[in-house]
Subunit: 224 residues, 2 copies
């Protein structure tokens, strides 16, 4: 297998002493690429990852205890990346209604632009038994939701939302965004609303943002 077949990249150069850790990153990158392209967790096999990284399969065991550990690591990465995207979209925005909208828009944009990455986040096995205390990275999996609750609270405090149950209304907004994001990715033949039209409905209908404050499309008001 050391002979380079046509199109297949030449075998990688061995890392120097003390730089074995580099391979871990390369393995993760290869696994992420596979997941990004296929969108299916099962296709991230140990051997497929090894092939893509240009190494032999057993080499992976120096860096991950087993196959599942690779997928777990990708999921942690994905949540981190997802949360960073939400933060970058919201932190610079000061108006609370505009910030709420910016966060929601970033959520839908992430799901639209990286559907396979998004699917990974909320797939069954990755949420099911998330033990918030047992695993060090797990908190990152809830930070996005906390951001939403806080944004909605800011709107209420600014008098822009009439929500009287932050947790319940933020939950309703989240499930609507999630349902929209996943179904749109799966059922391509359907007259989906554009993100903004969907978010108008979510912000006002579920977040109880007052119409006079509402952000329509990309414009930034408010009017009150």
């Amino acid at each position: 297998l050391r002979v380079s077949k046509s199109g297949v990249p030449a075998p990688r150069e061995r890392n120097r002493r003390g730089e074995g850790g580099k391979l871990r990153a390369e393995i993760l990158a290869a696994a992420t690429e596979i997941l990004e392209q296929t969108g299916s967790e099962e296709s991230v096999t140990l051997r497929a990852v090894a092939r893509r990284a240009g190494i032999s399969a057993p080499s992976i065991y120096a860096h991950f205890v087993d196959r599942d550990a690779i997928v777990d690591a990708i999921v942690d990465d994905a949540f981190t990346e997802f949360f960073i995207a939400l933060q970058e979209a919201t932190v610079p925005v000061t108006d609370p209604v505009a910030r709420l909208r910016a966060g929601c828009a970033a959520y839908l944009a992430f799901a639209r632009e990286r559907p396979n990455r998004y699917r990974l986040l909320f797939q069954r096995r990755n949420l099911l038994d998330t033990d918030l205390d047992a695993r060090p990275m797990a908190k990152i999996r809830t930070d996005g939701f906390d951001l939403l609750v806080n944004s909605l609270r800011d709107c209420v405090e600014a008098g822009a939302s009439t929500s009287d149950d932050l947790l319940a209304d933020a939950t309703a907004m989240w499930v609507a965004m999630h349902g929209f994001a996943t179904l749109r990715a799966e059922l391509t033949i359907f007259p989906w609303l554009p993100d903004d039209a969907m978010l108008d409905r979510i912000d006002q209908g579920l977040g109880h943002v007052r119409p006079s404050y509402a952000i329509r499309g990309v414009s930034l008001p408010p009017a009150g």
Copy 2:
């Protein structure tokens, strides 16, 4: 393998001449059970189905062209069953607002009581390239949504909803229900709203059902 191991049911009796079709139903039932129990499409392997049905693996080829054909058949069954559940819940109800609610409640109930069956319906491969003309059963996959649009229209015509875009608002309601149904099944550690509280938000916030007409919980009004 003909010797009966402990706990394993005795090998099935051969069907009589002309009754070979019975086996098709038994195969489907076995496959459905596997899916219902494991919740994962991949575990419906040809060999696992054969084991459960008490037959040899090659016997399946007399009834299904290949493994995928089994899964396709299950999916068609599942959509039919799903739509029947929605119809049974809505047909007897005459008040339009109560009927809209009854359909939505049946939707969430189906997803709650048979989560693995529900997941199957809207999983990627089952919607992705649904060619509405090519496959005879495919229409059943959209009947549920049509029911929702019609229910909402009835509410508008009765003056109980102010929706001015039936398709868009019904879509918003659907994605919210779907997001709620799937996330609730996957993320068990979360303070989920009960179905009724969620549906209050969906009916009023997304379906634009007037509060004075709204059905709260299981009571049936209306007040207008």
